[in-house]
């Protein structure tokens, strides 16, 4: 019935679902779940403030590594929504560029909706939501030129980042922009940590999207995320101890 090697994964998945359910119930009952502070999230307001003061754009730069919609692009949607809502409130110039063909219409919808909801549709400029497609260096150069032309004040670099991280972050740094980087790609994390003022790395990207809303159901998912990490840590420690004692039991169970 089960595919080979998926039994342990299924057990973990069911446990995860159970914790999500428990977390949702707990938040709905009024239990206050303490969550970690994410400086990268609060920095979005600071970055919008800087863009407002300088009268230069907040630049949301969302990157994908392929033509399909990706989880990191989806997680970036909430960050873009939060940033554009803040920008509309203070009437800060806002631009969004994406190389994701599937993601572009979503960003168009999110950004135009934010202007409509704030009752400021006249401020919405469709040319400020751009699809600069492709996954080659030519695309990166075009985005870098746009950043220079618009003289951006702040930048959110997010998504499935590859080698383009350096191009965008260096251009932003040269323009003196406040920069927030967000990705789960471990190979790009050192670059973001080096070049950006704030970062949302690994699961922080997903946690940030949840923490923006403070929605009970989503907070339940965040609780499950954190509990899952604790559980993984326990399994790792038990596995290491067992292996040091000459037992392969934990590895065998996980491979089932």
């Amino acid at each position: 019935m089960l595919n080979a090697g998926t039994a342990a994964k299924l057990v973990f998945f069911c446990l995860f679902m159970a914790v999500v359910y428990w977390g949702m119930k707990a938040v709905r009952r009024g239990v206050n779940i303490r969550t970690k502070q994410l400086p990268g999230l609060t920095a979005i307001d600071e970055a919008v403030g800087r863009a407002t003061e300088l009268g230069r754009p907040f630049f949301a730069n969302i990157q994908a590594s392929g033509p399909h919609i990706e989880d990191q692009v989806l997680a970036s949607c909430e960050l873009v929504r939060y940033a554009v809502q803040s920008a509309v409130r203070y009437e800060a110039p806002f631009m969004c560029v994406s190389n994701s063909p599937d993601g572009h219409p979503i960003f168009e919808e999110i950004i135009s909706s934010a202007y409509m909801a704030a009752g400021k549709p006249e401020l919405y400029n469709p040319n400020n939501v751009r699809f600069i497609g492709g996954f080659s260096s030519g695309t990166h150069v075009q985005i870098m030129q746009l950043m220079k032309d618009e003289n951006i004040a702040a930048q959110l670099i997010s998504g499935n980042l590859m080698n383009q991280t350096m191009f965008f972050a260096e251009t932003g740094a040269a323009l003196g922009a406040i920069q927030i980087g967000a990705t789960k790609n471990t190979h790009q994390m050192p670059f973001l940590a080096m070049q950006c003022d704030y970062s949302l790395l690994g699961d922080d990207l997903y946690a940030a999207a949840t923490m923006i809303s403070r929605d009970p159901v989503r907070m339940g998912c965040l609780t499950a995320q954190e509990t899952g990490k604790a559980l993984a840590l326990v399994v790792i420690v038990v596995g290491v101890v067992a292996r040091l004692m000459g037992s392969n039991a934990v590895v065998d169970i996980l491979r089932r």
Binding site: H68, A75, D102, N127, F131, D203
Partner: protein
């Protein structure tokens, strides 16, 4: 209905893929999940057309208004539609079509990609400042790894190679894997929220 139909489609598609991963049932394992992945390629092709439409609108407007860098807008449009036309006319395996790709795009990409080396040096220069003990730790580790990876470092002190390898294999790999486990849980959490219709940000509406 604007929200309900996409949520229902997300649930059916997501649940089929998850069931296909766990269950050895041909319908889920082969038919549903593989077919859905094939459909995703087709949907992406349509989305690409939407993106090309956005690109065309912006650059036609820019060229018509003689906006900033307008000649480049014309070059972009000529390349976009010229290359598309060439591909449709002569096919993707045609030598002229291939020549433009291999002779123009690939060297251009490589040229721009090589700038990364200079960007990394510039970024490292700004970062490697001894502001506090953590920065000092970063700088010390980075110097050991960099010197251990180049010939001159190992010529100065042969132990640098094994030290560099040890740093990359144990502390670095352990840290990276810890982050990957956290990120994987975040991905599962996001996937569940989308499948269950809790997360609706991708539908353009506030959750």
């Amino acid at each position: 209905m604007r929200k309900e139909i996409p949520i229902a489609v997300s649930f059916l598609a997501g649940a089929s893929i998850v069931l296909g991963f766990f269950l050895n049932v041909p319908f889920f394992k082969v038919t549903a999940s593989r077919q859905l992945l094939n459909w995703a390629v087709i949907v992406a092709a349509f989305a690409l057309a939407l993106g090309a439409g956005n690109l065309t609108r912006i650059h036609v407007t820019n060229a018509a208004k003689r906006g900033k860098h307008w000649p480049y807008s014309i070059i972009l449009l000529v390349c976009l539609y010229g290359y598309l036309g060439l591909g449709l006319w002569r096919g993707a395996s045609d030598s002229i079509y291939q020549w433009w790709f291999n002779g123009a795009l690939v060297p251009g990409n490589s040229t721009v990609f090589s700038l990364n080396g200079f960007f990394i040096i510039s970024a490292a220069y700004r970062t490697w400042r001894l502001r506090n003990w953590r920065a000092a730790l970063l700088v010390g580790t980075a110097i050991l790894v960099v010197l251990g990876r180049v010939g001159i470092g190992q010529a100065m002190w042969p132990a640098l190679g094994p030290i560099s390898d040890w740093i990359m294999t144990y502390p670095n790999a352990a840290g990276m894997r810890g982050i990957m486990i956290g990120a994987a849980l975040g991905t599962i959490s996001l996937g569940l929220r989308i499948i269950l219709g809790i997360e609706r940000g991708h539908l353009g509406v506030e959750s």
